[in-house]
Homo-oligomer: 411 residues x 2
């Protein structure tokens, strides 16, 4: 699979995070000749927070994480690619328990301090015994500087590894946030999942971390769609080792603490960066599409309208065909079911207004818009004209590549 | 565009309907060398009922029809292809008024007794003056035996004309129901619209006709999806001339009248037939897909789950690839947001159960399922295992053909 033409030009070097060590291995779960297991081990005192799929058919590791987030303590994270361990019944729950026990023994912690995520085929039993052969070595090998390796081990149909980093000051002490993610569709060719893991040395208690994460997710990961198909396995976890406390960083218990302002914005930027990379690696994507809705009756209404546009196969195929087909944008606004007044609508492609007051803008020049549509990044903006609700989501075009990737047989 | 491989093998001859006369013409609205206007004229006393798009951005003719359905009296129907007269502002409303006045003058009725529908490009002003040249001739030429011509005049990206017919007895007198439809996506390559028109000589008052139609639409036209994109122009109108009364058929005022039992079922069958033909002519369709959901907590819940499956690009591309990818069906059930218990789910492709009790059915043979997936008609059945709610929807696969049709430039 060639690398997405929308891949970031620059891949940052991720610095070590105090209290986090990483290792990868090839356990042969499905793929040959590549790594497919990631282990992260955390120092004592690491807080965990997470956001998990809302699917009514979640994978076994999602259910495991959901149960363990209550305590919010983490000492290890085990992620595998190649098999999602989703829709695998009791076998799946057994595999999760087996893996957590194995990692806990090797990392000398409790099974409840081990977080798990799996991505790959749905419905195939995960042979967790494969981890048996590699777990001790993973723990022994774990080192602070393996970020790109970590991002590569969790890829499925991704065409490039996804990493992001930022720093912030808390109480005058610099802390670092690193993140890795995978995902090439909400669900890939029967590979399931968006997975993202974020690591920091900040000392933020689990409930505060959870509040920050939940808020930050709304306009980052939850504002990205490739095909509208929500995975059984979507998992976003954040681990805060607190190691920066040894350097004088304050320990923070409440998400509303003003000293978190910089950290909050750094966390936002890491999540936004990773989420955008997922849209850039959407299956078959040739164009990154930013959909902005303004003038809706509320932000929630703007989000629904934006998602209706971003998930419309007709809008997405039009962008793929480099056609500024604003009639389809009208259709997608109309079908969203949200308050809209046709005769107030205005629509822009890039900076060019193509529709105004419920009809074609007589001033727009099709040739200029056509030239704009040839660019790799396309912005579609709609003004509903009713209120002050605004939202923004990212998506990609729908191309022959998507059909090729998803229309091929599983084996 | 080659004819869909799913087109019906047999096209029925539609008999005349007493009180209905038809004519078509080439007005050059957008297409060259083909008809693009249909006129139907009705005898006095014809009742009308209709179901129109729920889009918040409806076309001008949809708004016109909505306003006229209150009175429920029809003397003429004018339909054009090539231009949807949608998102055309005041120009669009003027065009509608102009056309209704023109037809009323030619057919010697009131403008409020003229129904209108348009399908084609969104956002382009409709030059209604084009009707000026053909209207008098249309009225003069109208004849009872032009059903296939009528179905052809309203096509846009359709690959075959869609007609259906049935008879029923009311009070011992045979009445006939004829229907025509067009639509190849909820919206076609920036051609908008599903349009369907049904005609009968039965003597059924407008409110009763409306009640019958609204009920019949639920499991026919509203249970079909090609791409989940609701048109600005969807229009389904029924006209009952009452001419059968002269042959002794009773005049019926209430939808609950028991003498309507046979008529109701004949109307259902005509709508179901036309709706299935629309799925069979879905843009790029190579497979007709029937999605059945059983065991949901209610019919409404079953409908939402069935639509989540039928609209999933991942399910549709898998069917296109002849892959019995039941993991994606699990995903679509999970994302529907309706009550579901993963560990109670069972899934069938055709008669073969592939998943049971929340895991792969150990008994199923991939080779047998693969052979089944090569057929042109695929049935996917899901048992949610929670209640007695059941529903059925029709869709088609998502193929390169869809991308080709919708990814090309408008001009």
């Amino acid at each position: 699979m060639p690398i997405s033409p929308l891949a970031p030009k620059h891949v940052p070097d991720l610095p070590p995070i105090e209290g986090v060590r990483l290792a990868t291995a090839a356990a042969g779960i499905r793929y040959q000749g590549r790594t497919d297991v990631l282990l992260a081990v955390f120092d004592k005192g690491t807080a965990a927070a997470g956001v998990l799929t809302r699917s009514k058919c979640p994978s076994a590791p999602v259910e495991w994480c959901r149960a363990k987030l209550g305590a919010g303590r983490a000492r290890a994270l085990v992620v595998n690619s190649g098999n999602a361990n989703a829709f695998t019944g009791k076998t799946g729950r057994d595999a999760v328990k087996f893996t957590a026990d194995l990692a806990a023994k090797a990392a000398r912690c409790k099974p409840g301090e081990v977080f798990l995520a799996s991505t790959g085929v749905i419905g195939e039993p995960l042979k967790a015994t494969a981890f048996d052969a590699v777990m001790e070595t993973l723990v022994a090998d774990a080192a602070p500087d393996r970020w790109l390796d970590a991002a590569k081990a969790i890829m499925t149909t991704d065409t490039f590894p996804k990493v992001a980093t930022a720093t912030a000051e808390i109480g005058g002490v610099t802390v670092t946030i690193n993140g890795i993610a995978k995902g090439s569709g909400m669900i890939a060719p029967d590979m399931a999942t968006m997975l993202a893991f974020v690591f920091t040395d900040a000392a933020v208690a689990a409930p505060a971390l959870q509040a920050l994460l939940s808020r930050a997710t709304v306009d980052t990961f939850n504002a990205v769609t490739v095909d509208g198909d929500t995975s059984t396995s979507d998992t976003l976890l954040v681990f805060a080792t607190g190691a920066a406390a040894a350097r004088g960083a304050p320990k923070i218990d409440r998400a509303t603490d003003r000293r978190l302002a910089g950290f909050r914005s750094a966390l936002d930027s890491v999540l936004a960066d990773l989420a955008e990379q997922i849209a850039r690696d959407g299956e078959g994507a040739r164009k990154l599409v930013e959909v902005i809705v303004e003038g809706a009756v509320s932000k929630r209404s703007a989000r629904r309208i934006a998602m209706s546009i971003a998930n419309s196969p007709l809008v997405k195929t039009a962008v793929g065909g480099e056609d500024a087909n604003w009639g389809r944008v009208v259709m997608a606004v109309g079908k969203a079911g949200e308050p809209a007044d046709r005769d107030q609508l205005a629509i822009w492609f890039g900076d060019i207004r193509v529709a105004h007051k419920g009809a074609r803008d007589p001033a727009y020049d099709e040739a200029v818009v056509s030239a704009l549509m040839k660019k790799p990044e396309i912005r579609v903006k709609v003004d509903i004209g009713l209120g002050r609700g605004r939202d923004r989501v990212l998506t990609c075009d729908l191309t022959h590549g998507y059909i090729d990737i998803n229309g091929s047989y599983r084996s």
